[in-house]
Structures are given as C-alpha cells and as structure tokens.
C-alpha cells in the first residue's frame, strides 16, 4: 500500500466540518483517518509533550490516541461533547494510564532531555518584532515556565495546559475532565499561583 501524505498537502484540511469528519470516520472512508490525524495530531502532540516532557513519548501517545479515536468513533455522539474535547479526553485518559504505568517507567524530566536524540521538531516562529535582548529574556522565562509546569501536581498541570496552552474554555475543560466549573476555577487559580511562586523563586535565584 502506497501511503499518501496528507500532512504535506494542504488540501481538504478544513473543508470538512467535525460532523462530516465523524460521519466519514464512521463509514470507514479512505482518507478520513488521514484528515483526523492532520487536524488533531499537532495539538495533541503539543499538549502531550508539555505534559510529559518527552518527544518520543508524545509521538507514541499521540498516534495511540488517534488510533483509539478511530476505533471508538462508533460510540461518539456529537450532541454531548464537541469532537475536539472528546479527542482530548481520550488523550487525557491515555496520559492517566501512562502515569499509572509510570510508577515502573518514570517520565523523563525536561532538563534531562537530550536534544540530539530528540526528533526534529518545528517550533512556531513567534519571534518577529522582538528585540534581541527581550528575545533572550523571554526565552529564559519560557524555559523556566516549562520547568515550573513540570513541577505542578498532575491535575493542576492538566488544567493549566488545557486552559492556557491549548485554549479550551472553562466549560470545555469541565466537560473534558468531568469536573464542576467551581473546581476547575479553583484548580486553575492554584496552578497559576504555584507557577508564579515557582517562577519567582527560580528567576530570583538564577
């Protein structure tokens, strides 16, 4: 079987709505898996990477999540939850499973990552219009933030990443995690407060 590369070609990326994509996946049409991958794999990868700090693990869990989505698409009803939220819920369940297994295989911390062994990663180029001094300072702050995120408790880290990195709103995060709005707000506040304290310590100490 010769695989097409839908990622490199920009056709049909956003032309299908979520409903059409779900219908296509349920019918098992050729190319629907490619489209689902193209739509959701990058954000899933980003979320899982910041959760685990490991590129290889992010790759594995991301492709496993997409596989699980395609396998379970028959039980999905769009009225209850948006497709994106459902996909991230599956990813979150995969992560929870991973962290349970992680008692045996502890996750690699960010500072121990070997950049030479990590796969090629495209970083979004958002440095335009930034002075070089600000750029260095901001880069250091980002690195500190990534390390501080890794120190958060799992629940707070999940909510922080979903809310401020992936851009889910409070209601979506509540649906995704099956929690009330009040608990999401509380956890979010605690996460940001802990991060502020952690960053203050590290930046002052550095």
């Amino acid at each position: 079987m010769k695989l097409t590369n839908p990622i490199l070609s920009e056709t049909n990326s956003k032309s299908l709505s979520d409903a059409e994509l779900v219908a296509s996946l349920k019918k098992g049409e050729i190319g629907s898996a490619d489209l689902l991958f193209k739509l959701y794999a990058p954000s899933l990868y980003n979320y899982i990477y910041y959760h685990t700090g490991n590129h290889f693990l992010a790759e594995d869990l991301c492709s496993e999540t997409i596989t699980r989505v395609i396998e379970k698409i028959g039980s999905y009803t769009q009225r209850e939850i948006p497709l994106r939220t459902w996909v991230f819920r599956i990813a979150q369940n995969m992560l929870v499973d991973h962290f349970r297994r992680g008692q045996r295989h502890p996750a690699m911390p960010f500072d121990k990552l070997d950049q030479e062994n990590s796969p090629e990663v495209d970083h979004a180029n958002d440095w335009s219009g930034t002075a070089s001094g600000d750029m260095v300072e901001q880069l250091a702050q980002r690195e500190e933030l990534v390390r501080a995120i890794a120190t958060l408790p799992e629940e707070q880290r999940t909510i922080f990443l979903l809310r401020f990195v992936e851009g889910f709103d409070l209601e979506e995060v509540g649906k995704l995690l099956g929690k009330s709005m009040a608990s999401i707000k509380s956890l979010q506040y605690r996460a940001v407060k802990n991060l502020r304290r952690e960053l203050k310590i590290t930046l002052k100490g550095g």
Binding site: L3, N46, E59, L145
Partner: protein, 307 residues
Amino acid sequence: MKNKSQEFEIALGLLEQGHDANNITQELANDEELLEMLEVVKLAQLLPRQEPSPTRQLFMLNQVKSRLPDYESRPGRSFPWLALPELFKKNPARAMFSVSHPGTNPRLRKLGEVVMAFTLVLVVILGLLATTRDLPQNIPATPVRGVPAATVPVFTTLPANSAEALTAIPVTATATKSTTILASPAPTSAPVSPATTQAQASATIQAATTTVLQPTSKTKPGQSPTPIRSVVTAPAAPTPTAPAPTAAAPTQAPPATSTPVPATTQVPLPTPKPTATATPQPTPRLEPTPTPKEKEEGDPPKPGEGD
C-alpha cells in the same frame, strides 16, 4: 482567597478580550500578585508550539495505520517482531526508546507477551523432559527384592560343601541378625553350660539362616537352599569352644579358610552392629561398670553437694 480567585477570573476574562495586563491590574486595586499571575498566563500563551516535523508526522500516521485493523496488512501488523528491524533502521533512538518503554508501544507490548508465552511453554517442556529422563536413572540395574546388592555375592560365591563354609556362613548370619541376642549372655553369665550355649547358638544360627535363605532362592535359582541349611545345622561341634561365637567369628574366620572365598564373604558386612557386639566381648571390662552405676543411681544427692 475567594476574592483573589474572583479577581483573577475577572482579570483573565479581560485578558482574553485583549486588554493589557497592566491596565487590568490598575483597574483591579493595583495588585502586584495579580499582575504577576497574569504575566504567567501571558507567558504560557506564548509558549512555542511543539510540532513534529512532516517526516515525523508521516511516520506517526503510518504507525496509526499499522495499528488499525481495516488498513491493508503491513509488515509488523500481524507479526509485530517484523516491524522491529524496520524501526531500528529508520530511527534507532526511537526504537531504543520503544524497546526500553514497551508499555507505550502496543506492537512491542504484543511482542513481549508472545516472548513471555513462548518462554513459559519452553520452560514447561524442558521441565517435563528433565523429569522423564531422570526416572530410568533411579532404577537399579539388577533389582533384588529385600536384600541389598552388596550381600548378594556372599551366597553366590559360597562353596556349599566345603568345611570352611561352616565357619563362614555363621559369621555372615550372626553378624547381620543375631548379634543382639548373643551379646547379652556373654558379659552377664560367664560360666554358662556348653549345652545352653550350643542351643542358643544353633537357635540363632537357624534364625539367621532362615532369614538369609530367602534371598538365595531368589538370586540363585539354580542353587537350592537345602545344602546351606544342612551346613548351618552342623556347627554343633564348635559350640563348646566358643562361648561367644559372634565375637570370635570375625577374627577366626580368615585363618580357618584356606580358599580366598570366605574372605570375600566377610567384606560386605558394613552394619554397625558387629562393632556393638565387639565392645562387650572382654569380660573384665564389663565387671567394673556396674559399680559406678550403682554409685550414681543408688546414692541420693546430698544437700550440700550441689556446688
């Protein structure tokens, strides 16, 4: 705490609408902590997107398709171990990670299960083979019921009609069977009449020979037990000269026999009972033994002797 949380929610809402963090904090009581928290949120929103390169994405997509059952069969889907060399060839670092973290890769997890099952079956088969091989080794080459293999040559090499056998056979018989019976009359009563000793000796010899004759009939089918029985009843003659035949027999037997056959007959007598009978043989040694026993048993302990 609640006020802070509510203020933070309001500030977040304003931030999402595009307001500047400094303006928001000025509106919200100019709180420095709130400002720093908003800065954290802003910083998080500016984190670089981590996305795999197009080649890595293609690899991941292939991985997804290989896991899906509806796609055409690819190497490694039905037989997961076939995908491992391909994986190593494409990206050794990633393959090593997958091997070291087998739980994250379902194909390798399957491979691990297969290897475990195969090893288990192999161990069971090897265990069964080992037990079946050991069984015939435990069975002796010439099975003799009731008699140890070492005593068998005594009767096979024994000349039935020779006079040396008269001394040789009681030695073997009394040494194995009647040592305890003969040991008691020797130390206690030294002046025993020859008639009683003869009767006792013959009785013990008969008892011993009757027990010993059973194996001969089984080991040597061609040789009848009757000549040995007649030989055993004959030693009535040496009884007057032997007050303790069991003790004297081991020492007297070798010179009496001219042929080397009786010497070989005495060799397979490793039982510890002859040594027990040999010790009470000297009569003067047995006499002083009762006196200290009587002293020890008869005298009650004095109250002052405890120390």
